[in-house]
Symmetry: C2
Subunit: 675 residues, 2 copies
Amino acid sequence: MATQTTAPGTTPPSHGEEPAQEPAQEAAADGYVQPDVDVEALQRLLDGRYAEVRALVRRNLVDNADILTDAETMSRGDYRERVKDLIVELAATGQTGMGFPTEHGGGGDPGASVAAFETLAFGDLSVLVKVGVQFGLFGGAIQQLGTRRHHDEYLPRLITGELLGCFAMTETGHGSNVQALGTVATYDVEAGEFVITTTREDARKDYIGNAAAHGELAVVFAQLEVGGEGRGVHAFVVPIRVDGEPAPGVRIEDDGLKMGLNGVDNGRLWFDGVRVPREALLNRFADVSEAGVYESPIDNPNRRFFTMLGTLVTGRVSVGAAGISASKVALAIAVKYALQRRQFEASDDEQESLLLDYGMHQRRLLPLLARTYALHFAQEELTSQLHDVLTGAADDEQTRRELESRAAGTKALGTWHATRTIQECREACGGAGYLAENRFTALKADTDVFTTFEGDNHVLLQLVAKGLLTDYASEFEDMDQLGMARFVAALAVDTVVEKTRVHQLLERVRDLLPGGDEWDQEAGLLDPEYQLAMLRFREEHMISGAARRLKRGVDQGMPAGAVFSRVQDHVIGAADAHMERLVLEAFVAKTRSLPDGDQKVALNLLCDLYALSVIEGDRAWFMEHGRLSVQRSKAISREVAALCRKVRPLAGDLVDAFGVPTEMLRAPELVGELG
Amino acid sequence: MATQTTAPGTTPPSHGEEPAQEPAQEAAADGYVQPDVDVEALQRLLDGRYAEVRALVRRNLVDNADILTDAETMSRGDYRERVKDLIVELAATGQTGMGFPTEHGGGGDPGASVAAFETLAFGDLSVLVKVGVQFGLFGGAIQQLGTRRHHDEYLPRLITGELLGCFAMTETGHGSNVQALGTVATYDVEAGEFVITTTREDARKDYIGNAAAHGELAVVFAQLEVGGEGRGVHAFVVPIRVDGEPAPGVRIEDDGLKMGLNGVDNGRLWFDGVRVPREALLNRFADVSEAGVYESPIDNPNRRFFTMLGTLVTGRVSVGAAGISASKVALAIAVKYALQRRQFEASDDEQESLLLDYGMHQRRLLPLLARTYALHFAQEELTSQLHDVLTGAADDEQTRRELESRAAGTKALGTWHATRTIQECREACGGAGYLAENRFTALKADTDVFTTFEGDNHVLLQLVAKGLLTDYASEFEDMDQLGMARFVAALAVDTVVEKTRVHQLLERVRDLLPGGDEWDQEAGLLDPEYQLAMLRFREEHMISGAARRLKRGVDQGMPAGAVFSRVQDHVIGAADAHMERLVLEAFVAKTRSLPDGDQKVALNLLCDLYALSVIEGDRAWFMEHGRLSVQRSKAISREVAALCRKVRPLAGDLVDAFGVPTEMLRAPELVGELG
């Protein structure tokens, strides 16, 4: 491999492949001094403003740690009951009700609610998901879509877990495309009632948590028809179970055994002319008068629909956070294992080497560790934005749209990261990782559906892209993918780019990166401004490129659908690039806010490792688009390896700082003595 | 995106992004005519010379299809018994004994044995793995490491399943590093017996199939000590269970619940001075006389060890094949689902679009489909080589070494492909993919350990690299990674390259690719010679680069272990590049052997899609090493998308040709009407 000439401004001079020292214990030739990580202080930083809430949840996790074995040893039926009983117990501690209004017995703190959920994800994930179904989806729908009458009637009892309910949106035939649901609610003006009907077999509600065993009520999403006119999807409170038996007209079927999350009773629901009173409509955004007059403060039906859905954003914020937490558990186990397991002699002293001293093992685990930190801080920002919107501190239309977009994108990144990280960690623990007595079996099986529920990740990234291409213009919020293609095509591409804030981004990048062949020799690889500029450039280029391709396709006479299909991976790639930029910005902002010291040095290592891993992972694109020379591309790979070697001696402390309770790691033989 | 100028010789001219036609039903502008796939004929081609054996296994799979639900509904104990009974039934049909000598009741056909195992992998994988443990590992060790006395005593009864046994190699502390096992077998010359002892806690045998419940005997790998002298690892037949109870001195523990494969009774074994007669030593490669004299036809202890292990190569060949089969099941389900599930309108006729008409969905599934075909044909070649070696048709030292290397590499590629493909297919089926009533739950959980057992994939690729760097020189076969680094360092790098057949490869590439800036404009993307030259160049460059880095590090005074750690990912990358080249060669050879016609056209599409996907996936490397211009790199991505569109209308037929019995797909709602 060619020797890399260190560019001026590269600080510290990159570790090449050759320097022979083992992880520095003292000042290295380049002045690098290995930081000491104060685990408690770092955990305080990660816990942030919700340290107290997290401490409560951790205590509850430890107190109920036996659920992790119950999940294996109990029958499915008993396990479901165990999980149900536990969430009622947890409700009594206050940890599951943080997001509800204080006047109904909640904590009045949406941010704390997400932090509690995030921490709960260190433990059994059936408990987590049942909490999400009950307090997030069911409770959240009552709270956000209902009005005073619904709040008074349902919130107090659902917050305690006395009243269990379902969020009946998804149908067998329709998951992501909610506007096309087949369940119908017809207003019967004579009786003053809605009649709920499953109109065709694939319109049965499916995968509905709390449906198979425990739910008494369901918030049912259905096409509202009033006076023969379709009004789009609305939500209704429908009793589905009376004294443990299906309510009249309701048919219930168990979804049966699932890959994981078998402590949650998912099921199917059919409605055969089920009648509910007029007041069952969750009427915050639309109502039907007794006389059958439909009224809504939002005229545009699509806008109304998306406004309704938008209020349910907490679910996505929470699932993304849970994915990141599950990744922390997996990394804690795999790093601890790699710090005690030896295999093959790799030095001459006849002792076998620790797994984590192998370059390949570092490459497998440490960039994932860095990315977990990055996502943690991005999630923290998102949670804070959610809190501000839900408490009214920042609640304009644009801010809401941006929050929804960011929630969608962070959910996709966080849950894909979980799937990838858990898999890599399991493989890195070999055969031991395959036994159920450690957490990988449950982690893998339980988290697998995270990429699907609360919105399929690919569909969510399309949503992000739509926002970018339209700058969250409210008049276009109703656009599906066809509409997106047509809208973009109707404008000059320059207009698209100028209309969006991507344009402002581009200006900033141009200021920073002078362009031409030389620019990439001038900035240091470890300069966050360089790293940010690279991700900003990629984002801008991909968005405008996607716009250009959409426009060109339509201009050339292709059907909009065919154009969209061809540009789809580009559109999704643009959204991904946007999200990675936001994540890096969050991580850089966090490290910049720290006082100088070892903690800052350690987090800067992780931030560099994250940023350069992202650039390395897409270095082909950067070369194709003239932003990376061959020499510099190779230098980035070498720097990633060098950063892995620097993070190596800190790795144990860095996973300890996640604050995953020892009991949640479970496998004593895998992780050795625990701190 | 810049417009690509089609290079002369590119045939057919690449589909750009713009042409607006839907999948061609007739001759397109570029002369491309969509082929008709004759599903039966294509299945015959895939089934190859073992069509009859595969037909037998398929019939048995269908006859016993209820095992797929038994796996869910039965208790673990009952399921284990069910699986045990089933493998005895299967043994009676002859399908599990194909590889044993006819004189002992086997089929005398090692290739047929792999084909049977490969086909069995369409079904329940606990059955598969129990078959592998009993007939492959246990039976294979008796056959390959034992002599007449062992064959006569054990083979007839183990072939029928009357005598069940274990392959007790792995210990808790040592998996891949078999030479460091801690179990000891000391020869007691007075008694003429071996004394088997577990010397320390982490030397207990672990994850041993058939150990927890059913095994009567175990082939135990232990350090042989004779007259106070250590002779390295040897294998002994040890009774572990008498009348269902642990034999005296043997302690047995159940490994408990596992992520998957819970129909197999994995367990742990401890030996406390267990005595076995002198004849219990499997003495094909070494023996101990009554008087305690150690004798072996192979002088070098390392060479003896690797020769012993080498005879067990069938296991790796079989596991790789099973991974590919599991991928076929997953793809059959996901493709069929994508051909019936509609979501969102993507065209103007108001009907929602089929998932497989989305560009992103094609990109997710179809390159995996192409890769599955590629691996199938590579596996077919490997099975054929194994057959030739085991039947003595080609049995020289070099051929054996190459077979072992190829088996190791194909196992790694096939099992990683399974993990990735099954995950992508599950996600592509959304929530429906999460229910246990389709195959994904079992496929994911059961195959997950394939990347670990029969050798950790990373360790296996290191083995491949070792062979490449030493040209399988028998005098170096005993080298561990330290030895590899030292050996390479002791030579001039040019010598390493010249010594190896990589050198011959390089010469061929140089003939084909004239070099310089122009060469990459001259050859067509769809020319297999171009594709092969690219993969050959990468392989050669990575191997010589790894050699150079190893040498430079040692020359500069770094400890060999530290050098190896830093170059490890490069070494593993070189092995991977080698394997991909072999896979492409196998696919190209197969398509070239076909008569002109639709089948050839269809397979050429898949072969191109596979080759260009591989190049696209590593296009950064090709750009970094001057073998791909930016323009051509972009052209390759466009061609991959165009190939996906051409494969799209064939996809249903292409998965049908795998011949996965309908009953093995299980989920009727997911896959709709089956052909």
